[in-house]
């Protein structure tokens, strides 16, 4: 078992992982702490939401949950560097697309130059132009 850094969109956790040729294997505890998922009879569950698992043998190997199979089941992108022991599980394109197609502007909170956090939802009642720019 080796220590990996696992990133769930932006949330970072360190967890013990069994290294395997295809993909790291997570213990149930690591799956829970890093990604807030549990494997139950109903499937892969996060809170009340469960994704059915048709082929458990693809997901569970040697007592561990295959990180790549886990990502594939959720339809989420997995960027990984095994040498650096770092993996990022990103947001699913389907989830992002559905959210944008709902036409509800996703809420967020970001800091200003002084570190003060500002949320979009605090601007309710006003028209907002969110302008993304960069020094580059």
């Amino acid at each position: 078992m080796v220590s990996w850094t696992l990133i769930d969109e932006t949330r970072e956790t360190r967890a013990e992982v069994a290294e395997a040729p295809e993909a790291p294997l997570l213990s149930p505890a690591a799956l829970r702490s890093a990604f807030a998922f549990e494997l139950k009879p109903e499937g892969l569950c996060k809170g009340d939401l469960c994704v059915p698992v048709r082929d458990r043998s693809a997901l569970v190997r040697a007592g561990g949950i295959d990180l790549r199979a886990f990502a594939d089941l959720l339809g989420r992108p997995l960027a990984m560097d095994a040498e650096e022991r770092l993996a990022v599980l990103g947001a699913s394109p389907r989830e992002r697309a559905d959210r944008l197609a709902s036409l509800e502007a996703p809420d967020f909170r970001l800091p200003d130059l002084h570190g003060t956090l500002h949320s979009l939802s605090a601007q309710r009642g006003k028209k907002v132009l969110l302008i993304a720019y960069a020094s580059w």
Binding site: V88, R99, A105, D112, L113, A134, S135
Partner: protein
């Protein structure tokens, strides 16, 4: 909202502009991900009820670089005033949805690779980071927040020859970006 790696890079511009509105820093590209922002500047139009009313668009507030990109600021600024004062320019939902550029498997994987690269860079793992920045760019070649946004991080001049090479490739591909109705139509 600056898609910059830290507060220091945009600070001189923000301090010179002295805006009366909040000026935010999206160093982790969280909002870029939520809104599928692939270029700067990008304007997102959100009404009083928190609803999107127009698709993402690349519009400029001044004519500083008009000779380079050809988009005059006047029609955009007029459209903003018309929206604020009279509520004009709001697209019907079906038309707006048809115009939205939505993320794909590749563009989301590119964002995950970019996040990975950024983490590696901050750990001092520069060569590993470079591999993943390049991979991100291969996966989403028309996302400037990745291909140009990574340049300051990687010590590459974002106004230099590497950028211009990418820019020529992008132009040759038809300058792919947001599919947008003309401002003048509304």
């Amino acid at each position: 909202m600056a898609l910059d790696r830290n507060a220091d890079d945009p600070r001189p511009y923000i301090e010179r502009a002295r805006p009366t509105h909040p000026s935010l820093i999206d160093s982790e590209h969280v909002v870029a991900d939520l809104y599928h922002i692939i270029n700067v500047p990008t304007v997102v139009w959100i009404d009083e009820g928190g609803r999107l009313v127009r698709p993402n668009d690349a519009q400029f507030g001044t004519d500083t670089f008009v000779q380079f990109h050809g988009k005059h600021s006047a029609p955009f600024l007029a459209a903003v005033r018309a929206w604020v004062r009279e509520g004009r320019g709001v697209l019907p939902a079906s038309e707006l949805r048809a115009q939205q550029l939505l993320p794909s498997r590749e563009t989301q994987l590119a964002r995950a690779e970019f996040t990975l690269a950024w983490h590696l860079h901050r750990r001092g793992r520069t060569q590993a980071a470079e591999r993943h920045f390049l991979r991100a760019g291969e996966l989403s070649p028309h996302d400037w927040t990745i291909r140009r946004g990574s340049m300051p991080i990687r010590g590459i001049n974002p106004m230099g020859p590497e950028f211009f090479k990418l820019y020529e490739e992008w132009k040759a591909a038809g300058s792919p970006g947001y599919p947008v109705p003309s401002l003048e139509e509304h």
